[in-house]
């Protein structure tokens, strides 16, 4: 059975579309995206692990977790929930963090809108759109402009992928 993975950058629009189908009920998929102990099991690509510091799943609530490298190095990921429709949609505002997990107020921002759809065969389709506020946000990833303790840089990702 195909999982129909779609990853489609539209750089001119500063957007990336990501879509995937899962062979599980929408209730299960929703739990996996919203319960910290479940999120931690898939959000960090191995051999990285994830540690949730805060997960306040309410509109205006904060989601702060760390991607932890094999040598204990932490990369904080900060998001604020801007909209929640229980069982069907989540919107977040992503911000860069300093080494202690504090968001950088005037740093670059990104937005993610995720929709969950029940499809035939007790399966679930998840559609995400990531929007970058400005071109330079993507560029910062490209240049690895954010070093230690902020977010995953290209080099770190490459190392990570090479070690898979």
């Amino acid at each position: 059975m195909t999982n129909k993975f779609v990853f489609e950058p539209d750089l001119a629009a500063k957007k990336i579309y990501i879509s995937r189908e899962f062979n599980a009920s929408i209730e299960k998929v929703w739990r996996a995206w919203t319960e910290p102990d479940l999120i931690e099991k898939w959000i960090a690509p191995k051999p990285w692990t994830a540690e949730t510091k805060i997960l306040d799943f309410t509109v205006g609530g904060v989601w702060l977790y760390a991607m932890v490298g094999t040598e204990g190095h932490k990369h904080w990921v900060y998001a604020e929930f801007t909209a929640i429709e229980i069982g069907s949609a989540i919107s977040t505002l992503g911000m860069f963090c300093d080494g202690d997990g504090n968001p950088v107020a005037n740093g670059p921002k990104s937005y993610r809108d995720t929709k969950f759809l029940s499809i035939e065969g007790n399966r679930t389709k998840v559609d995400s759109v990531i929007t970058f506020e400005e071109e330079s946000t993507i560029q910062m990833f490209v240049e690895g402009g954010f070093k230690e303790g902020t977010t995953m840089t290209l080099n770190q990702l490459e190392e990570l992928l090479a070690s898979e």
């Binding site: 990853f7 750089l11 960090a44 690509p45 191995k46 071109e135 330079s136 490209v142």
Partner: protein, 101 residues
């Protein structure tokens, strides 16, 4: 003003210029011939492309040729590929988790 590669591709005329240059280096005049806009407007776009590092200048005699900076354009691809792989891996891990739920 600091410019980046994404500003290069944010504009349809600039994307069209980049497409033209995939075939080979061109002078500003040769580029401008492909557009209805004024030479001046096209020159401005070329200047932005140069500032973004998307194109390089090559002085040949009295003419300046512009060519694609392939390495710079590849930056986008490389990052996108790493990002795509990260999501692919995440989703594969999520499949495993869902099987056990």
């Amino acid at each position: 003003m600091r410019r980046d590669i994404y500003q290069a591709i944010a504009d349809p005329t600039r994307r069209a210029i980049l497409m033209l240059l995939t075939v080979g280096a061109l002078t500003p005049n040769a580029i401008a011939e492909h557009f209805d806009s004024s030479r001046q407007a096209v020159s401005k776009h070329i200047q932005i492309l140069a500032e973004c590092g998307a194109v390089d200048q090559d002085q040949r005699g009295r003419e300046i040729y512009y060519q694609l900076n392939i390495e710079k354009m590849k930056e986008i691809d490389r990052w996108m590929e790493a990002f795509r792989k990260m999501w692919e891996t995440r989703f594969d891990q999520l499949d495993n988790l869902l099987n056990d739920l």
